[in-house]
Subunit: 364 residues, 2 copies
Amino acid sequence: MQERRYVREKKITMKDIAVHLNIDRTTVSKALSANPGLSQAMVEKVKQAAKELGYHKDTFASGLMTGKNAVLGIVIANEINRNIYASFVKSFEQVAQDHQHAVIMCHVERNQDDLLKAIRLLKQQRVSGATFVAGTHESLDRQYLIELTESGMAVNVTGSRFSHDSVDSIVYDHKRAGYDLTNYLIGQGHRHIMMISHPGASLKLLDDTEQISSRNSNNLRTQGYLQAMHEAGLPTSVVIAAHATKPPITVQDCYTTLKEMGHLGQTSAIIGASDDHALGVLFALKEFGIAVPQQISVAGFDDAYATLGVPQLTTMRMPLRESGETAGLLLIERMKRLDKDKASIVLPYEMIVRGSTSPKYESM
Amino acid sequence: MQERRYVREKKITMKDIAVHLNIDRTTVSKALSANPGLSQAMVEKVKQAAKELGYHKDTFASGLMTGKNAVLGIVIANEINRNIYASFVKSFEQVAQDHQHAVIMCHVERNQDDLLKAIRLLKQQRVSGATFVAGTHESLDRQYLIELTESGMAVNVTGSRFSHDSVDSIVYDHKRAGYDLTNYLIGQGHRHIMMISHPGASLKLLDDTEQISSRNSNNLRTQGYLQAMHEAGLPTSVVIAAHATKPPITVQDCYTTLKEMGHLGQTSAIIGASDDHALGVLFALKEFGIAVPQQISVAGFDDAYATLGVPQLTTMRMPLRESGETAGLLLIERMKRLDKDKASIVLPYEMIVRGSTSPKYESM
DNA sequence: CTGTTAGCGCTTTCAC
DNA sequence: GTGAAAGCGCTAACAG
């Protein structure tokens, strides 16, 4: 019967356990909050009674007093690929659950108005911590996040840097990912490796100063490619798939671009700046009658759509699960110590080797 | 300066506006809650003052008294394709936002324990309404949802039926979608249409009684196909792509299955039970050197991955945005009138015609 | 060490 | 019509 009554059960409160024990309700509160200055005996007695009576603390009610509800927030931009972020959200929530916290989602447009609305909502709900996923705030909005921390909320930023002492940040090592993938292919014997990306990626290797202004992932991945190729003394070839379609559809654009190029020369490996790019390449090559990976190896980034290709794509998996988990844990940490040292975590991509790449076959 | 101070601004409460107006705080409460039994003049005066002082009701605090916080919940199963559900969540949240509600997400495993945990969390947070997405509850768990409604929470179910007077439900018309798509292709002149699905779909048309036991979307889509073909007096051909890969990867399995079949006979159109299936078909056909759509038309379901194909897939778009919106609106409605008539909404798919289908070309 | 007193910000019942 | 009193369930100061 116990289970059936989970909902109807009269909710038992601190007061109940107080009268049961013939002590004061505030004593109960102290005992249950590990508040100092109570006899061990009392604490035990109360905990015991609480268990017996089936007491569950009402965090909502306590939130009114403390100003903190057991809830964490995720603020995420509408425009970013939410498909990709599903596993971020899920792992974030898992951490929250493990620490008895609920998760509130806020999708925002990339504008100040929406961001403010979201922030107000989080404050209103007494959310005790929130992570802002890249794209939700412009540099101009930094001040809002900072003031949030000053009001006692744990705050961090996922996917972009944030220079402030009490805002942790988690970033993806896009450039490194491009670098590693390229080196892997070089190690497989490939010399003529092409990278296909879209407008916004620069064709040449920039120095670090210049890169500051170009922090988008595609560009950074391309930079990693360029660096690896340069270091190996190999010729680079970056192809930009201009948006022929609108709304831009990466797969189509890459397919079309490749078809229009016609000859691929000595190219024996092609890297797409994302799995979508690589899928377009796959279709084009199939149409050319070029075997993957026997004649040309293909690889992508993200591991979002990599298993949708034939053959499945070798890809650099974006560490979304890890970042969701980290974002959650960092919030929990900071909630405990609002003044703790700032953490800036750089998460590495993971290489997932699948059927679309192979060592370079000797040309016949 | 106004904007900069959003966070620091001393929060102004009903008390503040009461002293300002030299009236009682409870009068303010009544005026602002459209409570009956107050002079129109008073109400206006209070509202005016509230606006001037920049008062915002603290729904969290009021939640403690009323038992309802301005929050809606989404309970969703871990196992279901969360990628697909991104647009559901987003549109649900949009509706919530429009009605000044926040959204709490709960991912659950498909088991009673997790479901109960989620329910407790929702109750704890005084959530005023929640939608349970198909897969989160087994028929055995019905009782939990019902008790939730009895405790005053608005509840509905998305993606599966639920027979109870105060639980609304939203279902997708999978069978109809299969039926419509097939008829569309028939209308385009195709006579030999093949359907590729995976284990669980039956090869023959079942009567409605039998179907009760087979409510999965793939099977229902297949049933729609079978019915349309039968009505048109055309030969049916359902191919099951058994899972050759593990974990099952639909694209690969369909590709392999088709390759193993070898000959496609007179087939001039192939329907995949989902976009993944259709993508696999696309790859296989490209390898066979069969032109899509000139020689064979291909179509899928969901519009989840349809733009990842070359050519892009004609597909039956699953009405996720609509269902998210509807789920939200139904909750809002029911919150107003907990005893309102049960709504059972059947949402139609929308046909999206893209490049992968065309009228049947005359055979040469 | 424990109990007392006072809220958090709002709602509700019941007098006036 | 409006105000006064009580309370939602918990916490935080301060006494005892």
